[in-house]
Point group: C3
C-alpha cells in the first residue's frame, strides 16, 4: 500500500532527451514519460487501451504518441486523436494522464487524485540547481521495497559496519558518536550526529589535500515522506569548535540527496546526487565522489536486497523484527507514513462507500 496523493520522482530530466519514450513502472503502474516537441513533459499510462501494446514502443509525433500496433494516436493529455480506418473516435478511447512537473532537474509525477496535485508541494532542494554545488546525477535499481532503503538511511550506525572502508571510516562511529538531537515532525524527522577528532573517511580523503589532519564530522539528516533523504555533511578541522556552531575555515560540505520511488511492492527506483561546495572547476572531485558513493551504495544494496528476500521467504518476520534504541527515527517514520496512508485510504473508503461510514 503506497501513499498515492504525493509527488514522486519519476525520472531525471536528462533521461528525456532526443524524443526518448521512457517506460517506467511507478507504484505498480506502467507510465510513459516523454518530452514532447514543444518542450512539455508528458506522463500517461503506457498501455494502449485498444489491445494493450506499449505506447513506449510507439512513435513520438509532436507532443502526441502513436501506438505502432494498429496506429492509434493519443495527444499529451491522453486523448485519442486518430484511429486509422475509422472516422468516429469513441470518448472511452483514451489513456490516463498524470500530473507531472519539473523541479530541481527531476521530473515529478503524481499518481493519486489529479484534483489534489499541487506543484507547490514538491520538495525543492535548492542545491540541486545552485551552481555553487557540484555533482553528478545517479540512478540505481533496487530489488527491494523502498522502505528498506529508508530504514537503512535512518540509522547512521550502519556507516560503521557496512561502510567501514568507504563512507564510514571506522567502527568507532557506532559507539562514540551520538545522535545529538532527533526532531520528529509530521512529514518525517531531522537528526544530527557529530563525530569529532577523527581521521577523514576514505571517500573524503580521496578528494582533499591534507589527508592526515584530524576532522570533526557532522551528519544532519532530513527524511521526508514518502521517501526523500537530504543529508548535510560537514567536515571541519578538528578542535576548533565546529560542533558549537563556529564557522571554521577549511570546512568542506556535502549535500546527499536521495529520492526513493517505489517501482513495485518489491522493487525501487533510487535517484541520487551527492553534491559538494568546494570543487570549483575541477570535475575530478565530482567523478571521484560518484565512484565512492556507488561503491558505498553497492554495500547497502547487497544487504537490503538480501533483507527483501528474507522477508519474501517469511513474510511474518516483518512484524517480528526487534527494534533497538537507534531505530527511533525508523519507527517514527514508518508510523508517520502508515498514518498518512491510513488517512488517505480512509477518505477514499468513505468517499467510495458512504454506507460503510455512518
Amino acid at each position: 500500500m503506497f501513499l498515492k496523493n504525493c509527488w514522486y520522482v519519476g525520472a531525471w530530466d536528462h533521461e528525456l532527451i532526443d524524443g526518448k519514450l521512457l517506460s517506467r513502472v511507478l507504484l505498480n503502474e506502467r507510465v510513459l514519460l516523454y518530452r514532447g516537441e514543444s518542450g512539455k513533459v508528458v506522463a500517461v499510462n503506457d498501455r494502449c487501451p485498444h489491445r494493450g501494446a506499449l505506447l513506449s514502443d510507439g512513435r513520438l509525433e509532436g507532443d502526441a504518441v502513436r501506438c505502432m500496433y494498429h496506429g492509434i494516436k493519443f495527444d499529451g493529455t491522453g486523448k485519442c486523436v486518430q484511429i486509422p480506418g475509422q472516422e468516429l473516435i469513441p470518448p472511452k478511447m483514451r489513456v490516463r494522464s498524470y500530473p507531472v512537473h519539473e523541479v530541481g532537474h527531476l521530473v515529478w509525477v503524481w499518481l493519486g487524485d489529479p484534483a489534489k496535485a499541487d506543484v507547490s508541494k514538491i520538495l525543492n532542494l535548492p542545491y540541486m540547481t545552485d551552481p555553487n554545488w557540484k555533482g553528478l546525477p545517479g540512478y540505481l535499481h533496487y530489488d527491494a521495497n523502498y522502505l528498506l532503503i529508508v530504514d537503512n538511511l535512518s540509522d547512521l550506525a550502519h556507516l560503521a559496519f557496512v561502510h567501514t572502508n568507504t563512507l564510514g571510516g571506522s567502527e568507532e562511529y557506532a559507539y562514540v558518536s551520538k545522535p545529538a538531537s532527533i526532531l520528529k515532525n509530521e512529514r518525517g524527522y531531522t537528526l544530527e550526529r557529530w563525530h569529532t577528532n577523527i581521521d577523514p573517511p576514505p571517500f573524503h580523503k580521496k578528494v582533499i589535500p591534507n589527508k592526515h589532519d584530524k576532522l570533526d564530522r557532522r551528519n544532519r539528516v532530513n527524511m521526508y515522506v514518502p521517501g526523500i533523504f537530504d543529508m548535510a555533511t560537514l567536515f571541519a578541522p578538528a578542535g576548533q569548535g565546529a560542533e558549537t556552531g563556529a564557522a571554521v575555515p577549511g570546512t568542506r560540505e556535502y549535500r546527499n540527496c536521495q529520492f526513493m520511488t517505489p517501482e513495485t511492492d518489491t522493487t525501487t527506483h533510487f535517484f541520487w546526487a551527492y553534491l559538494n561546495n568546494f570543487e570549483g572547476s575541477d570535475s575530478t572531485i565530482s567523478r571521484s565522489l560518484l565512484d565512492s558513493l556507488i561503491e558505498g551504495f553497492m554495500e547497502d544494496k547487497a544487504i537490503i536486497e538480501r533483507q527483501q528476500k528474507t522477508l519474501e521467504e517469511d513474510p511474518a518476520f516483518e512484524s517480528q523484527m526487534l527494534a533497538i534504541r537507534a531505530d527511533a527515527p525508523l519507527v517514527h517514520f514508518r508510523r508517520t507514513l502508515s498514518g498518512l496512508i491510513d488517512a488517505e485510504q480512509g477518505v477514499a473508503a468513505a468517499v467510495g462507500s458512504p454506507a460503510a461510514v455512518g
Copy 2:
C-alpha cells in the same frame, strides 16, 4: 480453456525422422510423438505411469518405447508389454494414446474424446503438398497465448505499422485499403482486402524482377477455429482490373499457412509455411521469403509477447480492451470459439454431473 474435440498440429512430419522421440506439450499435456520403425506415427502421453520418468528420455524399440529408468516398455497403443523382473503386467499399467494422423506434411493430434476423432475433419490445404507451390516449413515458439496471435492476424491494418519495412510496405495500407468483404461463418471468417497501385512491399520486391512497377495487392484471409490462418495473396500489375476479377498476366501469388497450437495457457507452437507459385526450380526465392517472413514474425512476436506480459500483470485488462471497427473479425472469431468451447464443456458437464442439469 481450450477446444478439445478438434485436430491440432503437433509437429511437422520432418521433425519425426531418425527415430526421434519428440516431447511436446500440447494444450498443457506432455505428448510423446514418434514414427515407429513400421512408419506409423505414434502419439502417447510422455509420462511413465510407474515413477513419472519421461518416455521421450527412453528408447525406441520397433513401434514401442522403453522407459530407461526401470525398463518398462509400452507399445504404440500405450499398452505395457514388459516390466523387467516380473511376469504379470497389471492392466492399469498403460499410457494414454492419442489419435494422430498425417495431412499436408503435418502431424495432427486429437487431444479430446478419442471416439469423436474423425480424420475427414482435418483441414487439408492443397498447396501444402502441391508441387507447383514452393516454400520451406517454419516453426516459432511464442511466449503468448495462441489467441493473441490469431488477434494479430485478424486485423491486417497491423501490416501498415508493425511491418512497414518488411511485409507491409507503407502506412497508407491502414488508411486507404478497406476490407472489401467479411464473411462470418460457424468456424471462423473470410475477409478480403485490396490495396491498389502500390509499390511492391519489401519482402516481395526482393524476389521479383521489375522492382519499380506499380502493383495491385489482394489479401484474402480464411481463419478457422481453433487457430488456423490461410491467406491467399496476389500481386498483379496495377491498373489492369485484377480487383474486378480479370486474369492479369504477370500476376504472382502466395499462400500463407499458419497453424497455432496452444502449448500452455501462455505459450504457443507456431507452425507455418509461406508458399509461392512462381519460383520454378530456383530455391533462392523460397529461401528469401523464409528470411523475410521470419523478420516480419519477429516484429509481431515482440508485440504479442509484450501483450501477454501486460495481461499477466493485469488480468482484468482482458475484458477492458476497447474494440475498434477493424476488430470485427477478431470479435467474431473469439465469440465463435467461446461458443464452441462452452458447448463442449456443457456436454462434458452434463455427462459428468447429471444431477446438476435437471
Copy 3:
C-alpha cells in the same frame, strides 16, 4: 512435512575451515554453521532478529558472530552479547540455536525439539573414519525432493537402465539378478541382491588389474529414515562360492554412504562418500571412483530432477504412480517415514492443543 526430531547431516567437517560462516538451508530453515575459534561447532538461525540481515554475512569473533549491518553480536548459544550504542540488551534479542554434533567427518544438526536431541542416536558408519577404508567426500545439490533420491536408491534395477555404461554394467542385471532378501524394520529396510558370473561393471573395471575375469557381485543395502543409504558392495572372483558365504581370496569391497538432507520441499543436499578397502596408498583409485560416481549420479540427477518437475506440473500424479513388484522397499520406506512423521505431528498437536485430543 519433514521428520523434525532426528539428526540430519548439515555439512562435511571440512566445509567449516578457516572460520567459514556457512549459510545452509536445512528443512526450510536458514542455518548458520561455523567452527568457533575454540574448535566447537555452532549452529544458529542465520537471520539477525533486528532487521533480518544474514549473520553469515557477518564476522566471526571467537565463538561468537557479529551482524555487520548494525553490529549486533551473538555468542555460540544464540545469546545477544552486544548492541552498539546501547547498554541494555533485551532478553528477546537472541537467535535460535540448534543441537549440533560431529560424527564420522559429518556435522549433524537437530532441527526438532532440542530437549529430545540425543547424540547417541546419530548413525555411526565405522568405515567413514576407519583408515582401512579410503575415499573422497562428495556433495551434490539436487533440484528435487529428497525422497525421490531415496526412491531411486530403493530399486537397484535402475542400475541396469540408467547406469548401463557406468555403475551398472548390463541390462541383464534387471532381469537375472533377484533381491535375495528384504528385511523390513522400524527405521527402514535391508536388502541384498546377487548377480553372479558377470563382467566387471565399468567403474570397477577401471580400478582393478584383471579386467576380463568374471566376478560375482553382491549389493547389500541398508536404508534408514530420514534418508541415509549405506550399501556394502562386494566383488569376488566368480564361481568360488562367495554367495554362500565363503571368504574368497581376491574379493574387493566398497561402502557407498549417502546422506540426503532436505534443503526445501523441492531441493536436497546430497552428501556422499564411496569407500574402498583395497586401495592401499595409491590415491588414484579413490580419484577414479570419485569421477565414476559423479558420472553415475549425474545420470540419476537428470531423471530425478525431471521427476520433480513432472510432480510440480501435476501434483496429483504423486498419488497416482503405479507401483511394481520391485517397489516393495520403496513403499515400505515411505510408509515407515509417514508413520513417524504422523506420530511426531500427533504428539505435537496434542501438546499444542490439548482440547482437541480429549
